[in-house]
């Protein structure tokens, strides 16, 4: 397709109304889309009753997390927003204009914080908090983009370490300990539980998947066949089966402290499940790398583990990044299955709300909000991955 600069009207005419039939099809499609959009808007603004959402915002957000302890979650959200802004800004570097994707993300964030929290009829204090958190993220992103590149390289290399540290801190803030009141997992719910399960599984399945992929390509038969059997068994079984199985057997398989209750058992099943898929994504990255890279590293005297860490994995993981993030997005959506084993994740919470006689028949409203929430989370993951990809220059990967 050529894209010569042309008056928009002329282009429209050439591309959409070239022949009478083309024009007819165009008009028909546009009419259909307008009708659907009008119906949707009419429903959203005049027919839908959003009280079901407005009355249950806290339940959707955090489940039955004790109200007097919720300041811990606000603190965590604030820290997460700051860390996101920091990583985002550093990833983009010092270009003065924000890339289109960033402008879009910032726009959606502002709309959600301002219009979203107003439409949900949150109390003014909480509306203000959300706006503050969004403003903080964008401000940190701006500052890190503006001045980040002037920091010493050593300091910038440490920034990714914020995430695991923040995760540990988050676990303490959420579950208690170190002087904070304990909040048992049975009281976690809603978006909090969904994100917690997904992030736990994402963080752990990644290293596990890398080890499995390396194992599958290993020369040691035991390691290779062990990895193959594991990967193929997990990929051959539906997640829901494994979730039920995990509830019954993980108590025996894992040492007592690791899977003390249903929430953690489910988190481990998600981890083990996703690891098999991540392993296949990473394996494709390893396979795409020319054999000469490993040979060159080894012929320089690098032992196997150093050759993998410094030469093979940095390139293979970059190749595997899009597929891996795709897997993470699937994982996030798979957490909805947790509602089927009785956990009150986002979907589980939604089902209890819809079962409440007060809100009977309000399913459409609830599901639409759920879809939007999931879309936001997945879009954020996707945008982050694309930013990372463009930062890890394709120029710097060996061509086969």
């Amino acid at each position: 397709m050529t894209s010569t600069p042309q008056a928009p009207l002329a282009r429209l005419r050439r591309e959409l109304f070239a022949t009478p039939l083309d024009g007819l099809i165009t008009l028909g499609l546009v009419g259909f889309l307008l009708a659907v959009a009008a119906a949707l808007l009419r429903w959203v603004f005049f027919q839908a009753e959003w009280a079901v959402i407005q009355a249950n915002t806290t339940l959707f957000a955090v489940g039955r997390y004790p109200i007097e302890q919720q300041w811990r979650l606000w603190l965590l959200t604030t820290l997460l927003a700051a860390a996101t802004g920091l990583s985002w800004g550093l990833l983009r570097g010092p270009s003065r204009r924000w890339p289109v994707n960033d402008q879009l993300a910032a726009g959606i964030l502002i709309v959600l914080a301002v219009v979203g929290s107003w439409a949900l009829k949150l109390t003014p204090a909480i509306q203000l908090r959300w706006c503050g958190i969004a403003a903080l993220m964008l401000a940190v992103r701006w500052a890190a983009g503006r001045w980040g590149h002037t920091w010493p390289m050593g300091l910038r290399r440490l920034v990714p370490l914020i995430w695991p540290l923040l995760y540990l801190l988050g676990m303490v803030l959420i579950s208690g300990g170190l002087g904070l009141m304990q909040v048992p997992p049975s009281e976690w719910g809603g978006l909090l539980l969904t994100l917690l399960e997904a992030s736990f599984a994402i963080l752990l399945c990644f290293p596990l998947g890398i080890l499995l992929a390396l194992g599958r390509r290993s020369d040691l038969p035991l390691l290779r066949w062990g990895s193959v059997v594991y990967i193929e068994f997990i990929r051959g079984a539906p997640l829901i089966t494994l979730l039920f199985l995990g509830q019954n057997i993980l108590g025996f398989l894992l040492p007592g402290g690791l899977a003390p209750d249903r929430v953690w058992r489910a988190a481990w099943v998600l981890t083990f499940f996703a690891a098999a898929y991540v392993a296949e994504a990473v394996r494709s990255g390893l396979a795409a790398l020319p054999a000469g890279q490993l040979e060159a590293a080894r012929s320089l005297g690098l032992p196997m583990h150093q050759a993998l860490i410094h030469v093979v994995l940095p390139q293979a993981l970059r190749i595997a990044l899009p597929a891996t993030v795709g897997q993470f997005i699937t994982l996030l959506q798979d957490t909805t299955l947790l509602s089927l084993i009785g956990l009150l994740d986002l979907l589980g919470t939604a089902r209890t709300v819809m079962a409440n006689p007060e809100f009977l028949g309000k399913n459409a409203e609830v599901y639409l909000v759920l879809a939007v929430l999931f879309w936001c989370c997945c879009a954020a993951l996707g945008l982050g991955s694309r930013a990372l990809e463009s930062r890890l220059n394709p120029l710097t990967t060996a061509k086969a």
Binding site: R298, S299, L300, L302, H310, L395, T396, A398
Partner: protein, 250 residues
């Protein structure tokens, strides 16, 4: 050319035989002895086992029969022994195999800092000197993908030299290059030979072989057919197989 006939033996290969997993008999009992400071050029038709043979010297290929001793260290399956030999043996590949995710300078300093545990500042200084020697110091902070083929191969040579190897193996170092870039790589290799580096070179470059090699080895069908000084090899080959090969590349 330096005369080094009295020097000690650097590589000693005796009766090396190799079968590939599919049963193909790639090396059928190859003998070769390379003295310190010697430049040996291995020639021969493709599929004759030249590359496979020199890749056994640093254990990139295994072999089933025979023995190879490199700088006094016998090649065995002991991993520590293999890593020790690889530290002393530099290798330059047909496809350069630079690490594309690292800058030119990082390509050079990676192994010395990790394997020899030397200080980064010191290694970087030496690396820059090496890049100066191969005439691409000004590219030190670029990525390999931004360099031409000839430049990349010179970086690859410098990367091997940065480990201060006792032997350098060259596996068809100019075969993947555009014709106008072959000379710049050969000049670097010639310079290296003049400084007394022990080199085993698999190549089809007749001019390089004539001018630089102390000895030409002709391989065919997994065997050494003829071994002779270049003057004799090119003007008066003893074996029918050598004459046939020379008539094909002339």
């Amino acid at each position: 050319m330096t005369s080094s006939a009295a020097n000690s033996v650097m590589i000693e290969a005796r009766g090396v035989e190799k079968w590939y997993a599919n049963g193909y008999h790639a090396l059928r009992g190859v003998n070769l002895s390379v003295r310190q400071g010697e430049v040996v050029v291995i020639m021969g038709p493709s599929g004759s086992g030249k590359s496979t043979f020199i890749r056994t010297f640093n254990a990139l290929e295994d072999f089933q029969k025979g023995s190879i001793v490199v700088d006094g260290m016998p090649l065995s399956n002991d991993l520590r022994n293999i890593d020790a030999i690889r530290r002393e043996v530099g290798m330059v590949f047909q496809q350069f195999n630079l690490f594309p995710h690292l800058t030119v300078l990082e390509n050079l300093t990676l192994a010395p800092t990790l394997v020899r545990k030397r200080s980064k500042v010191e290694v970087e200084r030496e690396a820059l000197e090496l890049l100066e020697r191969v005439n691409i110091r000004e590219q030190a902070h670029k990525y390999p993908g931004q360099l031409s083929g000839g430049q990349q191969q010179r970086v690859a040579i410098a990367r091997s030299l940065c480990m201060e190897p006792r032997v350098m193996l060259f596996d068809e170092p100019t075969s993947a290059l555009d014709p106008e870039m072959v000379q710049e790589v050969l000049e670097v290799m010639q310079e290296l030979a003049r400084e007394g580096m022990t080199m085993v070179v698999v190549t089809h470059e007749v001019r390089f072989a004539r001018q630089v090699a102390h000895r030409i080895v002709l391989m065919a069908d997994g065997l050494v057919v003829e071994e002779a000084p270049p003057e004799q090899f090119f003007s008066n080959p003893q074996h029918e197989r050598s004459r046939q090969f020379l008539s094909q590349i002339a």
